[in-house]
């Protein structure tokens, strides 16, 4: 596709359920980021993937959060046992190079009831 694609665009779930968010980066982009944006707040770094290097998971808020990426393709962010404070827009971005321009997806809006 022409840009970063994220799915689902909207997800409503019950507290305690697991959710999986998907990101399809721009083809050829080696770097992939996940950010979280809570209502009225800035973007909070979650995790970074670069090629086949070990990911930087330093931003993951708890062990309920995990992410995977297969090579330089699709990434999935999984949140287990969701809590109400997990409600946010989850943004994925990819970049052609380190410190290059980030290209963002439209985000996945998660609402935990």
């Amino acid at each position: 596709g022409a840009g970063v694609s994220q799915s689902p665009s909207n997800k409503v779930t019950e507290k305690g359920k697991d959710v999986e968010l998907r990101c399809d980066p721009i083809s050829g982009h080696t770097a992939l980021y996940w950010y979280r944006q809570r209502l009225g707040q800035g973007l909070e770094f979650l995790i970074y993937f670069q090629g086949n290097s070990a990911p930087d998971k330093s931003g993951l808020p708890s062990d309920r959060f995990s992410a995977e990426r297969t090579g330089e393709s699709v990434s999935t962010l999984t949140i287990q046992r969701t809590q109400q404070e997990d409600s946010a827009v989850y943004l994925c971005a990819s970049s052609l190079e380190v410190r290059g321009e980030l290209f963002f997806g439209e985000g996945s809006r998660l609402t935990v009831l």
Binding site: Y35, G42, E44, L102
Partner: protein, 108 residues
């Protein structure tokens, strides 16, 4: 600690008025600064970066290391400039730290 501060949540100006969106950062090393913008119903996108030293859509931003600032300026605001603006700091080799954003509203 590495931090980006955008003190204004909302900035409202009339069309044709000058605009300055404030951004201050905290970082002991040599920073890279960026401005990202999100127009209504569009994706977040790069507006400009300090190393480019260019003007995009009439906007400029100068890195002031003494004041640790990277304010975004435009001499004459247009209605189409209304958007959410985020300042970002490239602190480590790849991680971008974003501010909380400023909503610019340009009134006719």
């Amino acid at each position: 600690a590495q931090r980006v501060t955008q003190p204004e949540k909302l900035l409202s100006v009339f069309k044709g008025a000058p605009v300055e969106l404030k951004c201050n950062y905290s970082y002991s090393g040599s920073p890279e600064l960026f401005w990202y913008v999100q127009y209504s119903r569009q994706r977040l996108q790069l507006l400009l970066r300090h190393i480019s030293r260019e003007s995009i859509k009439g906007f400029t931003a100068d890195l002031n290391k003494g004041e640790t600032s990277f304010h975004l300026k435009k001499p004459f605001a247009q209605e189409e400039d209304s958007a959410m603006y985020y300042c970002a700091l490239g602190a480590s080799s790849y991680k971008l730290i974003f501010g909380s954003g400023t909503r610019l509203l340009v009134r006719p």
